[in-house]
Symmetry: C2
Subunit: 191 residues, 2 copies
């Protein structure tokens, strides 16, 4: 589908799986940037900036033509949820998500180094959790899965049964809005 | 979570994976029933009837306490889409789904044989496809994936990038509305 050399600037195995499922051939080179939010930075500008910085940082040092960066956050009642500090923090986040809706926002950037063009976009999905019991939260925290996930959960694993419904892109919640990313790759590679 | 013996009356590996992800222990015993719709049967009564018949058929011949049956259909512009007859039929279905919304309906039944109680429910999810090119359809049909799937696609594989967004339960589109099925198991097992 895309013959240009594609580099995924992300260490997330979930993002790599998604891109693979679409039949895109690519190499993985994780980007290393400072992810601290700027003072007063809003969620959408934040994920867009990090996505672009990840793509740019890898493009500056690796071979390839199309560089993909992405950043995902969970937003609940005004709180930006990153990865939990520890099990207690994970349980606190899941307690807050219980029985209500939240937003998952992924920013992505595709940088075409050959032509100096880039496409970037932020995609938002609404996710609604069922009410969780203390036992359900404790059992999920005990699996260790929450620790490296923004918002303390991954929608495709042991938390799948907690999600009543979503409104928007599912792959966006996993970490990469696949429909939009593939469209950007096709647009840039096809010119 | 559930100590009663659970039997999944379905041959679908995707349903088994979902149930496993929720930490439910179960055995798989596919049900064998006639899946032909009754004259004039509407979609929701149809999937509910098949789900119940699958659970009941297996409960009549196997050990266990909680028996789960399920049936999934794709509904697009009044057409109930089952599994495609061949590659040409798969391409026809995908062409129809292209650039528009359709509904995925899963009926499930959980039959508690010990107490003679059952819970059944049909869950509907709206799924929106991006516009597909003839090349995209041909490439997906060539993978062979569409042939054993209702509506000629599986949301979690090579068609994931075709899905712009959904409104409702994601696991319902995969084949089992996990949140609702787990709630039914807990309700029946907990009494």
């Amino acid at each position: 589908m895309i013959s240009a050399k594609v580099i995924l600037a992300s260490a997330s195995p979930r993002r790599a799986e998604l891109l693979e499922s679409a039949g895109v051939r690519f190499d993985v080179v994780p980007g290393h940037i400072d992810e601290t939010p700027l003072p007063g930075e809003e969620p959408v500008p934040h994920v867009l900036r990090l996505a672009r910085e990840k793509a740019d940082e890898v493009a500056a040092r690796e071979d390839g033509r199309l560089f993909i960066g992405a950043d995902t956050i969970v937003l609940c009642d005004g709180e930006i949820m990153g990865k939990p500090r520890d099990d207690g923090d994970a349980a606190r986040m899941l307690t807050k998500l219980s029985g209500r809706g939240h937003q998952v926002i992924t920013g992505f950037a595709v940088f075409d180094r050959d032509r100096g063009r880039s496409i970037s976009r932020a995609v938002t999905t609404q996710v609604f959790f069922k009410p969780l019991s203390a036992e359900e939260i404790a059992a999920y925290v005990a699996t260790g899965c929450p620790l490296d996930k923004a918002g303390a959960y991954a929608i495709q694993g042991g938390a799948a049964y907690m999600v009543e419904r979503i409104d928007g892109s599912y792959t966006n919640v996993v970490g990469l809005p696949l429909c939009e990313v593939v469209a950007a790759l096709v647009e840039l590679a096809g010119e």
